[in-house]
């Protein structure tokens, strides 16, 4: 796979990345042990789920809004059952409609959709959460690439 350029500012030995890596590896080991073996697409889904879960559980991100929102979303994915009547909400967040946020740059709305939990955030918080989310995403991609390289050598 072609990598565009080396990733700056990413320290694979920092405690945050170690937590993230450990969590992911434990999840992978669980998936590997599962018997009977799941189908390829099911296993891909499980691995992807594990990737996002370990991002949300890394020590830096557990305090973040995006990681809580992501964990919530992951739980909803896991619990998709046809017979489920309602999702119980603990607290309803009043979200300002986007039309009343004229001071934001035009692309902020797309960013709000991409970053978990982005819709309810103030602009300043959104930027901060985005930076953190991007760092975790990069670490996860790096980790998975390293694993692939290690396994296939």
């Amino acid at each position: 796979m072609n990598r565009k350029n080396p990733l700056p500012n990413s320290n694979p030995n920092s405690p945050n990345s170690s937590m993230q890596a450990l969590h992911f590896l434990q999840a992978l080991a669980r998936i590997a042990r599962a018997a009977p073996k799941p189908a390829h697409s099911a296993r891909t889904r499980q691995i992807r789920h594990a990737a996002y879960a370990s991002m949300a559980h890394s020590s830096r991100s557990s305090r973040r809004t995006w990681s809580r929102a992501l964990l919530h979303r992951l739980r909803q994915w896991q619990q998709q059952r046809p017979g489920r009547l309602l999702t119980v909400r603990r607290r309803v967040r009043i979200v300002t409609p986007i039309t009343s946020r004229p001071e934001e740059p035009a692309r902020a709305e797309t960013l709000r959709q991409l970053v978990p939990g982005g819709r309810g955030m103030e602009y300043c918080n959104l930027l901060e959460e985005t930076a953190d989310y991007v760092q975790c995403l990069r670490a996860q991609v790096q980790l998975m690439q390293t694993l692939l390289d290690a396994f296939s050598s």
Partner: protein, 85 residues
């Protein structure tokens, strides 16, 4: 719920924008005026989308890899790579 809207200083926003600039590749430009902030946000959105696509792709490849392993060797490989990195 109180609103802090106009109390957030321009300086804080600029600081966050330059932090994002340092994270997102191909966006290392000076200036934090509105136009480049929009451009940076666009680059950031594209970058996040491409990272998420990479996660999907790598999950698929990892799944391929794990398909070819039996239980014992999978765990051994995982432990081995954990120790060697």
């Amino acid at each position: 719920m109180s609103r802090r809207r106009s109390r957030i200083s321009e300086e804080e926003i600029n600081e966050l924008i330059s932090k994002l600039q340092s994270l997102v590749p191909e966006s290392r430009r000076c200036g934090s005026n509105r136009a480049s902030a929009t451009k940076l946000l666009k680059e950031t959105c594209n970058y996040i989308k491409s990272l998420q696509r990479e996660v999907d792709d790598l999950s698929d490849r990892l799944s391929d890899l794990m398909a070819g392993m039996d239980n014992n060797s999978a765990q051994a490989d995982i432990i081995r790579s954990l120790l060697s990195s």
